[in-house]
Symmetry: C2
Subunit: 439 residues, 2 copies
Amino acid sequence: MVEYQQMTTAQLQDELDSLTKSHSEYTTRALKLNMSRGKPSFEQLDSAMDLMTALPADQRPLDLDGEDTRNYGLLRGIPEARQLMADYLGVAYGNIILGGSSSLNLMYDSIARAMSFGVAGNTPFSQQARLKFLCPSPGYDRHFAITALFGFENIAIPMNDDGPDMNMVERLVNQDPTVKGIWCVPKYSNPQGITYSDQVVRRFAALKPAAPDFRIYWDNAYAVHDLYPDSNKADDLLSLTLACEEADNPDIWYMFASTAKISFAGGGISALASSTSNIAQIEALMSIQTICPDKVNQLRHVRWFESLGGGQGKGLDGIKARMKQLSAMLAPKFDIVDQVLSEDLGGCGIASWIKPNGGYFISLEVLPGTAKRTVQLCAEAGVTLTDAGATWPYGVDPEDSNIRIAPSYPSIEELEQASRLLAVSARLAAVERLLGKGV
Amino acid sequence: MVEYQQMTTAQLQDELDSLTKSHSEYTTRALKLNMSRGKPSFEQLDSAMDLMTALPADQRPLDLDGEDTRNYGLLRGIPEARQLMADYLGVAYGNIILGGSSSLNLMYDSIARAMSFGVAGNTPFSQQARLKFLCPSPGYDRHFAITALFGFENIAIPMNDDGPDMNMVERLVNQDPTVKGIWCVPKYSNPQGITYSDQVVRRFAALKPAAPDFRIYWDNAYAVHDLYPDSNKADDLLSLTLACEEADNPDIWYMFASTAKISFAGGGISALASSTSNIAQIEALMSIQTICPDKVNQLRHVRWFESLGGGQGKGLDGIKARMKQLSAMLAPKFDIVDQVLSEDLGGCGIASWIKPNGGYFISLEVLPGTAKRTVQLCAEAGVTLTDAGATWPYGVDPEDSNIRIAPSYPSIEELEQASRLLAVSARLAAVERLLGKGV
């Protein structure tokens, strides 16, 4: 196949006619598919139903210390759940506070606390004249929305194939005292599925921020979310905590995680981790904010994971076993998208994507200036994609080239159809553009 | 018995000797009792254990609209749980947003939102030079702690036997634009167990605040928490919502509730209610803050309450049935405290208390200047009470006279012992004071 950029106008015109016809055929089929949402499928959720009855009705749900999970108290959470999430994140037990079902809420609260009360004794953000936040892009729109809401200037940082452009990060963080943080999804990044290299993690740990209240917001959302554990294709992430200790930078990190994509997306447990002194400040403020997270659900999770892992104290093994179950459901979905894109877009020279080893998304780069049009063409034929631009600060992709694909929710058959339409749409948009007929 | 204030010095001296001896006897007994915490007892929690298995493991937990409670989405909560909490609070379905297990967290977030983003388009609180909040006292220390944390001047409002001193409330709210809100527990108030009269509710509804961003923070924590439903001793609370509509003041209220003291204290569901336009503002901001509350737990609660109430849509009947179960456990505890105080403090003329028809506390007024000493004397003999002063802003009771008693957690035997010690301690502190030997 001739790559589009090498085609003559006549060849492009033929391709336009052919693609327009293909696209019309999809339109008449009246599909109703959705590849926009990073949601677990019914099948994934159904396979977690033992969680529902992990706590028997005939036994008091007491924690390891004999405290009643049903009652008030234990702001940080119950010991066995804190230990589990500490092991999960690779931090010490004393560095964990558990939250409700949404780790996003813990992130929002971290920014909100910094706005009102400052970080580590520094002036509250709300009393500082100018605030900036770094946003590796493409990235997670809900991260960017939090700092945008609070009035930060969100600054896009380009993503390389081993993580954010650290030259730019270092320059901004180390020189500009109005830069207060950076959003990171360090493993199987949303949406590209990139895991930060050891060198990138070490450069994060070695930052020397101009702002004393700068923090790294390390959202380890996909810490164990490998797609190919059986073939040992999994990305290792260096421990930021250890790297920060080595770099004598112990207080620079906040870490977040949840079981949303392990147990129930809308009914899991979440965790915030940070250094001992950061946690002490956070806990003092949280003690005014709330009584405690849902500790019954914490114990329910621990018991379920332990049952999957082979007994008491084996919760982390249970999580790993659980992720194997899930990878068996998810990997074929990622595979079909990759296969169809390879077949239908591979030779055109107008698109690229990474086939990730984990996470929840595939990030497609189409011809600059055609992402919006591609998403529109898909919508016309009944396939919903994430809005083009959503993965960039303020929803504006400067190249208009990034499209986030979420393969988890639809069936394999649906994904195949939707991916073929996506390929046709991306090609059609590219041809239109190259012919000067772009929108 | 001669009242203490009528006693001669010699009589007081005799009384001092006798009480000191009694108190010493308690001290040698080395009690270890706690009447400080408004926590449900094991018995109460055990009787809610069917909640644990209210959702079967072999059935998808779908909501009324067929949405999967296990997945992401539904920021406001599932329809049946919203309807239940709307009925519970006596507001319309559209005026409810559900939260996690802690309604305190919803209150904190309401203040935090107003700090950062303002109320209804007004200047954010954080950008206003001076902020005041009204605190009917004695009241709930955790309310006062929130506004103190955010830098409000907390102003104590005296409590009459039908609610807060509305003359003072009206004067402050209607004249001072720095007054931004008032904390209310309108039914079975914490700690006095007072229910606001219809007239008080109507005066609240008719407030004409000098501040456009003033709101009533109506924490209906004990909406159904009657102690004597069988004998029809229960306090009715006029609907603030309806009263506000009548007074053409539709946006002045925020309302809060939770099932903490109905199901599990640390694993219930909570609700925030307000006018349509307030809720719209709140929801827009919450959509950035979080994904959704734990909807599985919402459905679990609805199903359990419906099973107690006799079927689908009968959740509110189920809550009422549940409260009858709980009143049978709680009323005897309140009764024994009242009985002992009547027997041992009744004739001394130095103490008063209200025997409430509901709620979680008994509020004891001792001789001014002796509350701290009374609590200290109890502690010396092994009985922990809430810190004297805790029920007032900044923990300072100007009269040093209020002691909050929480009868729910200890057994009846323990409550009898603890109450007898409390009576001895209050008398001893009073005699010391009258003899000029006070601390």
